[in-house]
Amino acid sequence: MLFNSFVFVLVFLPLTVIVFFAAGRFSRKAAAAVLAAASLIFYSYWDPRYLILLLASVAINYTAGRAISRARDRNLAWWFAAAGIGADLAILGYYKYADFFITSLNTAGALSIPVLGVVLPIGISFFTFTQIAFLADVYKGGVREYRFIHYLLFVTYFPHLIAGPILHHKEIMPQFEDVQTYEPETKNFTIGSLIFLIGLGKKVLLADTFAAYANPVFDAASLNHSVDFASAWAGTLAYTLQIYFDFSGYTDMAVGLSLLFGIRLPINFNSPYKAISIIDFWRRWHMTLSRFLRDYLYIPLGGNRNGPLRRYTNLLVTMLLGGLWHGASWTFVAWGGLHGLYLIVNHAWAAVFPVSHPNRLRALAAGGTTFMAVVFAWVFFRAPTFRAAANIIQAMVGGTEISTDFHAWSAGWSSQFGLQESGERVAATILVGLGLCWFFPNSQEIAYGLQLFRGRMQWGTFGAVAVMIVILLAINASRGVSEFIYFNF
C-alpha cells in the first residue's frame, strides 16, 4: 500500500487510528496487537506471499535475541548473535544479491550460470538492518524489553517498514510501553497530519515533477543517445532534487503518520543540501542509515582508533558496503566508493586545515563544492550502467555539444525528450527546487515552528490540512501510481 494512495489515506489509515485508540482504552497490549496486525495487512497488500518471509525473519531474530539474552556465557551468546545475523545476511543476500553476484561472475569469468530471477521483497533491506542492530545490541546487553508483540510491532510498524527511517529499538520500545501513547492527542493529529502533508507535497508536487525531467535524460544516456551539456546538467540536477524530495518526502510522511499514533520516529533528513562538507552532508542525509553504518560497521571495523590509514580504509569499506546496501549493482558500489573517497579527502583536509567556524565566504565555497560533489556522485546512483553514467558525465564536463543559444536549447529540449515543457521552464523549476533546498526551512522546522496548534486553532488547522491532503492525493492519483525511489532498496 502506498502512503500517497486514496485507499491508504481514506480507508486504511482512519480505520487503523480508530481501532488502535479504541483498543487502547481497554488494553495497551491489545492496541499494540492491532497496530501490528494493521502493519502486516499493510505489508501483505503488495504481495501476501512475502508476509511469510517477513514473519519468518521476525521469528528468527526474536528467537536469536532471546537466546542471546539467556545465554550463560559470552561465547555462546556470540554464537547465537552470529547465527542470527548470519541468517539475516543470508536472506538479504539471496533475495537482493544472488542474481547480482551470478551476473558479475558470468561477466568476469565468461560463464553462463543462469540467473535465479529472484524478486526483491519490498522493505527487506530496512527490516533486515533494523533486526541486525537489535541482535548486536542484545549481545552488547543494551536491550531490556523482550515482549514479543512489542518486538513484532517494532520491526513491522507500517510507517517505517518499507523505506525507513531505520529504527533503533531503544528509541521505539519505550514508547510502546508509555501509557500516553495509547491516548489520542489533538496536537499529535495536527502536527502529524501537517508533516504528512508536507511530505506528500514534496512527493507529488516536487519529486514527481523532477522525475519527469530526469528520466528522459538518463534513459537517453542509457540508450547511448547523444546528450548535450545543458541537458545533462538539467537531468542530473533534476535527479538531485527528485531523490531528495522523494525520500525526505517519504520520511516526512512516515514521521507524520507515526505521530498520529503518538509515536515519534527519528528525523532522517536535516536540509542535506545545506551541508558545508561531505562529513556534514552525511550528518544530514538519511541520518538513520548513517547512524547504523557508523555504529554497526564503521566502529566495529575499528573506527578512527588505529591511525589515519586504518581510519580511511574503514571509511571506504563502510561507504562501499553502504553503496551496495542501496542496490545490487556496481554503480551503487561506485557511488558509495565515491562518497568514501570524498569523506577521506574531507577528513584529511580537516586534519591539515582545521577550521572550527568558517566565515560566510568560506562556508559558501565549501557548501558549493560539497553540493557539486554530491551532484556528481548522484550520476552513478541514478544511471543504470557505467556506460550511461559515463555518457552523462562526459556531457556535463563539456565532452559533447555545448549550445550557447539557450533559446535553441530550450526549444530542442521539449522535442528531444518528448516533454511539453520548454527548457526554460525546466531550468526555472530546477532553480525553484534548489531555492527550496537552500533557503527554506525543512519539514520539522516548519511543522514545529508554526503556532497553529493551540486551543481551537488546532482543529481548524487539522481540517485545512485534511482538505489539502485530499487535493494532493487527487493530483497524485490523476497521474497514476507513483512509487517511491527507496522502495527499490
Partner: protein, 352 residues
C-alpha cells in the same frame, strides 16, 4: 462539538481559498452545456462563452478561447455560406490544441469554402447523426465528414449523462437522449470543482488505483511509466447491439446523402498497432466501412496515412503519453489525408 465545528470551518476556509487561487488560473471552465431544445437538438456549449482548457494537474499546455455562434470550439459559422461540415467528438473539438491548428482550421486555410467543425467531447455516432441532421437542415452543406474514432460504436449503445445513444426496443433501435446534467452544469461554475472533476478526474476509481507487485516481476527500478497506445483490436468486440447501431447509423447517413449532401466517413487508426508495425485498422472500422461502402458512402481509413508517415518520420501522433488524442502533428496528417482522399480542393474550385 466545537472541535467538529472548527474542523469543518478550517476545511471550508481552505476550499474557499483554493477556489480564489484557481479563479484567475487556466483551470478548465466554460464547458457548460445548454439544454437541448427542438431548435437546437444537438449537445453543444454556450454560444460565445469564453472557455479555458487544460488537462495537466499543473495547468500546462492550457488553451483559451471563445465558443462560436453555434456553441462549438471553432470559427463562427455563417449559416448561409456553402459549407463542409466536420462532425466528431473531442478529436474534432481538439480543445487541447491551439485554435488554428485543429482539423477544421487547417482545412479552412486550404479550402476557399466555409469549413465548420462540430466537435463535442464524449459524442458518439447518434450524437453525430443528430448534429448532421441539424446541419443539413440549417446550412447549405456540400459535404458532411464524420470523424469516427475508437469507442464511438461501443459508446453509441450505452446510456450517458449528456447526449444520445441507441436504445434497443422490441422492434427497432431508437435514439434516446439524456439531459440530466443540470447538477454538473451548476457545479461547473466552481473552478475547484472543475479542477477536481475535469482535470484530475476524481472519482471512485481512484480508490482502486493502488500499487501491487506486478505478477512475475520485481520492482520496476526507475520505471518511467511511459505509456504509448497499445493495439486494441484484440479486445474490441462488436456485439449484436453495436452491429445494429452501425446499421442504423449508416442507414441514416445514406438517407442524408440521398437528400443531396455528400457523406464521408473518416476512420481513426489503431495507432498502437501502427507503432508496433501492424496494420492499424480497427474492428469498428471493418464493420462500419463495410456497411458504408454497401450504402454508397465514401470512407477514408487513416491507417495508411498514419502508417506511412510514421515509417518516414517516426513521430507520434498523440497529444502526450497519457492522452491518445491527436496532437497538432496528427491533426495535420488527418487534414492532409482528407484533402487528398476527398479531393476537397477540387470541390472548392467547382463551388467557386
Amino acid at each position: 462539538m466545537w472541535k467538529v465545528v472548527h474542523f469543518f470551518l478550517g476545511a471550508l476556509a481552505t476550499l474557499v481559498v483554493l477556489e480564489l487561487v484557481l479563479r484567475p488560473l487556466p483551470v478548465m471552465h466554460g464547458w457548460e452545456n445548454p439544454p437541448v431544445t427542438m431548435e437546437f437538438p444537438m449537445v453543444r456549449y454556450l454560444p460565445h462563452a469564453a472557455y479555458s482548457y487544460s488537462r495537466a494537474w499543473n495547468l500546462l499546455g492550457a488553451t483559451r478561447g471563445r465558443f462560436n455562434n453555434l456553441g462549438y470550439a471553432a470559427q463562427d459559422v455563417d449559416l448561409k455560406a456553402p459549407t463542409i461540415a466536420v462532425i466528431g467528438d473531442s478529436f474534432v473539438e481538439a480543445a487541447m490544441i491551439a485554435p488554428g491548428e485543429r482539423i477544421g482550421d487547417i482545412l479552412a486555410q486550404r479550402i476557399p469554402l466555409q469549413v465548420a467543425a462540430f466537435g463535442i467531447s464524449g459524442a458518439d455516432l447518434p450524437d453525430y447523426m443528430v448534429t448532421a441532421d441539424w446541419v443539413a437542415g440549417h446550412i447549405p452543406t456540400r459535404m458532411l465528414i464524420f470523424v469516427i474514432v475508437r469507442g464511438d460504436l461501443a459508446g453509441s449503445v450505452k446510456p450517458k449523462l449528456r447526449g444520445y445513444w441507441y436504445h434497443e426496443t422490441l422492434e427497432h433501435l431508437e435514439i434516446r437522449r439524456n439531459i440530466a446534467f443540470t447538477l454538473r452544469n451548476t457545479l461547473s461554475s466552481s473552478r475547484l470543482f472543475n479542477y477536481l472533476y475535469y482535470q484530475l478526474k476524481v472519482g471512485p476509481h481512484m480508490l482502486r488505483d493502488n500499487w501491487r507487485r506486478p505478477e512475475n516481476s520485481g520492482i520496476d527500478q526507475f520505471g518511467t511509466g511511459k505509456k504509448t497506445p497499445t493495439s486494441t483490436n484484440a479486445t474490441e468486440e462488436i456485439t449484436p447491439l453495436m452491429h445494429a447501431a452501425a446499421v442504423q447509423f449508416i442507414a441514416d447517413a445514406a438517407a442524408l446523402q440521398r437528400k443531396g449532401v455528400s457523406i464521408a466517413l473518416v476512420f481513426d487508426a489503431d495507432r498502437g498497432a501502427i507503432y508496433g508495425g501492424g496494420g492499424g485498422k480497427t474492428a469498428q472500422e471493418e464493420v462500419l466501412a463495410g456497411l458504408a461502402q454497401q450504402a454508397g458512402l465514401r470512407t477514408i481509413s487513416l491507417a495508411d496515412a498514419f502508417a506511412s508517415d510514421y515509417r518516414e518520420h517516426h513521430q507520434s501522433f498523440e497529444y502526450d503519453k497519457n492522452d491518445s488524442h491527436w496532437n497538432a502533428y496528427g491533426q495535420q496528417i488527418v487534414a492532409k489525408a482528407l484533402l487528398e482522399e476527398l479531393g476537397l480542393a477540387t470541390l472548392a474550385v467547382v463551388d467557386r
